[in-house]
């Protein structure tokens, strides 16, 4: 137990301070090379450095390797490889604008190392009722899980600080759930993701100094998905991610196809007082942000806090679900 506490503290420190220290240098580096994009919701349309995925992946890999030094298991290795591959997919999308099909298809390949390493348990555990063993179907689940979590986090990366803040809350909730289920090794892996995203949030929150880009958002999502698979907590992970899943569900049920986010109409519009309001355009997609501002326009910061409260709400359900895993009816 002492070993696990030391590992948890060390991994958290490495994850947080690696991202916290590297990101300011990365901002300067990106700004110097004019790798910046316009923040349309900001007064004067400030130019913001992108992609921040570079510091995120360094933080995730460094902390997971520290964890690997304590517990050399294929599960940790599978998380590291999946995260690295997702970063590669994201950086390609950051540098060249790819079609809507690219990320889901490319992320399928990111899931393959988990299968090749056999870092999964083919049983799907549900609260209250037990688990089902689905060896063949589970392979399909692994293949689909990484693109789903990757794109789900990517789809909420619409305002300053949302993707990093949301990932941080969901990862800490997942970590708490894994501690409840006494899966300490993977709980610490999730803690690493939580602290890496928290450190990035410091620079990503409103007013952002850096955007994670596709590389950052996909690292967040794919790492989260990999932790869910290797920790056998797929259902709990989905519960913690519910607000983001709802966003994807609302989007897909209104647009009815997978498209690149740059190709769609904006579901919100900027008012003169720099608050965001819901667009009256019937053809624009329905998203969680559009619903939040449907009644009353809000500032970007206020919308962020509404989403974070929702994340804490669903995170609490994730922890409740973890407790219910031990209950049978």
């Amino acid at each position: 137990m002492e070993n696990q506490i030391v590992a948890a503290v060390l991994v958290s420190i490495v994850a947080f301070f690696t991202v916290f220290t590297i990101t300011p240098f990365l901002i300067k580096f990106l700004e110097k090379r004019n790798l910046v994009v316009k923040d349309y919701n900001r007064k004067g349309g400030a130019m913001i450095a992108r992609p921040g995925g570079i510091s995120i992946i360094i933080g995730v890999i460094a902390s997971e390797l520290v964890l690997y030094a304590f517990f050399p298991s294929i599960h940790i290795l599978a998380i590291v490889i999946t995260s690295s591959l997702a970063f590669c997919v994201g950086i390609v999308d950051d540098r060249r604008v790819m079609g809507g099909w690219f990320k889901p298809v490319a992320l399928v390949f990111c899931a393959i190392p988990i299968l090749l390493l056999g870092a999964y348990d083919p049983g799907l555990a549900f609260p209250l009722f037990g688990s089902v063993n689905i060896p063949v179907l589970y392979i399909g689940l692994v293949i689909f899980m990484i693109p789903i979590t990757g794109n789900t986090i990517n789809s909420i990366d619409v305002l300053n600080g949302i993707a990093s803040g949301f990932t941080s809350i969901a990862s800490f909730a997942l970590s708490a759930a894994l501690f409840v289920m006494q899966n300490y090794e993977i709980a610490i892996a999730s803690l690493a993701l939580g602290f890496a995203s928290l450190a990035f949030y410091k620079y990503h929150k409103f007013p952002s100094r850096i955007f994670p880009g596709d590389s950052g958002a996909l690292v967040f999502g794919a790492t989260y998905g990999a932790i869910a698979i290797v920790g056998s907590v797929e259902v709990i992970a989905a519960v913690a991610l519910l607000p983001a899943i709802i966003n994807s569900f609302l989007f897909l049920s209104s647009v009815k196809k997978i498209v690149e986010h740059r190709q769609i109409k904006n579901p919100t519009f900027l008012l003169d007082d720099y608050k965001l309001g819901a667009t009256p355009d019937k053809d624009a997609p329905i998203t969680i942000v559009r619903l939040i501002v449907a009644g009353k326009p809000l500032t970007e910061k206020e919308i962020g806090f509404v989403i974070f409260r929702l994340a804490i709400f669903s995170g609490a359900f994730a922890v409740i679900t973890a407790f219910l895993m031990g209950v049978r009816i």
């Binding site: 009722f129 688990s131 259902v235 519910l242 569900f249 679900t321 219910l324």
Partner: protein
């Protein structure tokens, strides 16, 4: 601000996950046509996968109905 319905929708989705999981584990999982109908075990698994996929489709259908009901005011605006 209409965060209230979003909270309701999160709760509805959580309940649907619990109910869906219960159906899979207690009804679909133990289903077996191998003994009574002399079916090949692989085909037996295939049928169960088919039932599970039908349940997923039903789950999405129910979810879209819940969505329309929860967000009816906002979706009209």
């Amino acid at each position: 601000m209409i965060a209230g319905p979003v909270y309701a929708f999160v709760f509805a989705m959580w309940l649907l996950i619990l109910v869906g999981g219960g159906l899979i584990v207690t009804i679909v999982g133990p289903l077996s046509f191998v003994g009574s109908y002399g079916l090949d075990p692989t085909l037996n698994s295939g049928i169960k996968v088919g039932i599970a996929l039908l349940l997923v489709v039903a789950w999405i259908f129910i979810l879209s109905k819940v969505k329309n009901w929860v967000f009816q005011k906002q979706l009209k605006s």
